[in-house]
């Protein structure tokens, strides 16, 4: 048959390729044992989270060139890191993802001797359950997910998630494009624990989500403030930092932390075990822990800054922003996400399916 020759060629190349697999692209461990790393750093971080000026200044100070790739959800980051062949020196997982990564042995233990600025971090952030004593990660920024309302357009009071997803708001809502988040709002709304992701609970929230999601106009984890700012939507469940930016520009954007289900997130810096430049990564982490640098991060992205030394440099206005720094007793009531294990897949599927039904 005429197709035999290409077939043989294919088989040959397959055989060759199989031989080649063990060859190149080997141990980054070889790289770490080398005394001098190349002056490069590969940063994989959230979009709209690390100001470019800070990165540029780091390069100016140390001569280390930083390449940046962005993601807009922990799941995306995990996907690229583990299943997607990406190699990075520094990642920025949230607390529950750190838990999963530590469990799977994916992170390099930090060399605390190199992190001289670690004392700037507030004590409560040094003893978080997902990484006691900051063995593998260092807090970058904390924050919340809450409701942002354009009070000029929506006059009725909004207190919790159920108030957002009402038929009168159809097509005027923006939410984060994050399955885990969405599920937690539904759980909180039914007074279930946000970490109580079980088959029964998921079945309980499914009809609620089926009611809620068709009302959503925009799914955006990158920059949800955009659609609120330009009026495409009037209400949204978004990151507190984004809401804080809106509030700082125009006080009509109110931020509400719902009683049921508001949670605290802590984004951390961590080094994957496959990193090629772990020393440079340590340098960058230490740089970000500096008070002046951390203050500049807060200026650009007004989340809840765990760096006490940096907080002292903030203006009273910034500290008074209810989206950045809510009352302490509200914060103390909040939970953080825990790793869901195998249920993270189920959560992914559930939301994808309901979302895909469109409107």
């Amino acid at each position: 048959m005429k197709t035999i020759r290409p077939l043989i060629l294919t088989l040959l190349t397959l055989a060759l390729a199989a031989c080649g697999k063990s060859g190149p692209a080997t141990a980054p461990t070889a790289a770490t044992s080398a005394s001098a790393e190349q002056k490069k750093l590969s940063l994989f971080c959230w979009s709209e989270y690390v100001p470019q000026t800070i990165i540029d200044d780091f390069t100016k100070e140390t001569g280390i060139k930083v390449s940046v790739e962005n993601y807009s959800s922990n799941e995306e980051m995990l996907s690229k890191l583990l299943a997607g062949g990406g190699k990075y020196d520094l990642i920025q997982p949230s607390e529950y993802t750190i838990e999963a990564l530590i469990k799977d042995g994916q992170l390099l233990p930090l060399n605390s001797a190199g992190l001289t600025n670690l004392n700037n971090i507030a004590p409560e952030f040094r003893a978080m359950s997902f990484d006691l004593g900051n063995k593998y990660s260092v807090p970058y920024m904390a924050g919340f997910v809450g409701i942002c309302v354009n009070t000029a357009k929506i006059k009725t009071p909004v207190q919790n998630f159920a108030d957002v997803f009402v038929p009168t708001n159809k097509g005027r809502i923006v939410v984060l494009d994050d399955a885990r988040e969405i599920v937690s709002w539904a759980l909180g709304s039914l007074k279930l624990g946000i970490n109580d992701v079980t088959t029964e609970n998921l079945a309980l929230i499914t009809p609620l989500l089926k009611k809620w999601l068709p009302l959503v106009k925009v799914y955006d984890s990158d920059s949800p403030k955009t659609s609120l700012k330009n009026g495409d939507v009037d209400i949204g469940v978004i990151w507190s930092g984004e809401a804080a930016l809106l509030y700082a520009q125009d006080k009509k954007f109110a931020f509400i932390l719902p009683e049921d289900g508001a949670h605290l997130f802590v984004d951390n810096l961590a080094i994957p075990k496959t990193a090629s430049h772990p020393q440079n990564a340590h340098l960058f982490i230490n740089y970000l822990l500096r008070a002046d640098v951390s203050k500049r991060i807060s200026d650009a992205f007004p989340y809840y800054n765990p760096n006490l030394a940096a907080r002292q440099l903030l203006s009273p206005e910034q500290l008074a922003n209810p989206a950045s720094y809510p009352p302490a007793q509200q914060i103390s009531r909040m939970q953080t996400f825990r790793d869901l294990g195998q249920f993270s897949a189920t959560v992914d599927e559930l939301v994808t399916q309901i979302k895909a039904k469109g409107n």
Binding site: P6, E75, A179, Y219, N359
Partner: protein
């Protein structure tokens, strides 16, 4: 590909030489490239579609039909259908809008034809991001249309045009219109003038001349254009995401989601394989139609 009176070496009595080992050696790199980077990835995709994933999203190679069974859930089928509808609508609009323009260019004098063609080529070659961004800046809340409407007090509040099916179709049409104009133009240019003349001579009005003579004669061009627009538009998710905002998902978006956020590569691969089949079917059906209607 259409074969006219091609002056192949055989026609002129020269024998296309039987491939010597040297020729095979030279062609080798190409074949190896095709095998490794075209054939192999496709095979791997099919293999992955039968596999599973672990907790953290890594692929666990196995063999089962679970992913395909999931594909036939109404949710996903309706997304396939939505994508086809968007593509169909965009293609139809492109034909309606593009045909008269292509006709005009094809019948223009050679000098004008040159200029007009170049004018079509510029959007054709322009980056799709620029072209899509152009419409985002026109349609968005703080964009041109709303600025005009508000400043001239025609409307009190801005129109919400972005993130709607309208925006998606518009984005697709704007991107693919040159792809429709060019093949139709090629067909029109090849029109035998005497046939058109004959139609008018025999007393046909413009409508009949067009519907009975001109359009059927240029049908290969229309089909080629439909091929170039419809088939890629089904899977073009970058444009639909930018214009549609995520609440109007297309199949490309869903597959992309499976490979990133949803961390379910096997399921994404299964959807991908189905998309590939859909693609092949459309391609062959349209391709047949184009080649079968090959007159003169």
């Amino acid at each position: 590909m259409a074969e006219t009176a091609r002056q192949t070496p055989t026609v002129l009595g020269l024998d296309p030489r039987r491939a010597s080992w040297k020729a095979w050696l030279l062609l080798g790199p190409l074949l190896v490239w095709l095998a490794i980077f075209v054939l192999l990835p496709t095979i791997l995709l099919i293999v992955t579609s039968f596999s599973n994933r672990d907790e953290l999203g890594r692929v666990v190679y196995s063999f089962n039909w679970d992913n395909y069974r999931r594909c036939f859930d109404p949710t996903w089928l309706s997304i396939f259908w939505d994508s086809i509808l968007y593509a169909l609508l965009a293609t139809a609009i492109c034909v309606l809008v593009g045909y008269p323009a292509a006709y005009t260019i094809g019948r223009a004098s050679p000098a004008n034809r040159r200029i007009l063609l170049t004018l079509v080529m510029v959007p054709f070659w322009t980056s799709f991001l620029i072209r899509t961004y152009a419409w985002i800046s026109v349609l968005s809340q703080e964009g041109l249309v709303n600025s005009l409407l508000l400043s001239s007090h025609i409307l009190p509040t801005p129109l919400s045009m972005m993130y709607t099916p309208f925006a998606i179709v518009l984005g697709l049409v704007y991107n693919y219109l040159p792809f429709m104009i060019l093949p139709i133009y090629t067909s029109v240019e090849k029109l035998d003038n005497s046939l058109v003349e004959a139609a008018y001579d025999l007393g046909a009005g413009p409508i009949r001349a067009f519907s009975r003579v001109i359009i059927p004669l240029t049908q290969p061009g229309i089909t080629a254009g439909a091929l170039l627009v419809f088939v890629p538009a089904i899977a073009m998710y970058a444009i639909t995401t930018l214009m549609g905002g995520g609440s109007n998902p297309t199949i490309g978006e869903v597959i992309q989601n499976q490979f990133t956020r949803a961390r379910n590569q096997p399921f994404g691969a299964a959807l991908g394989v189905l998309l590939m089949l859909l693609f092949l079917v459309c391609f062959f059906v349209l391709g047949r139609k184009k080649n079968s209607a090959h007159h003169v």
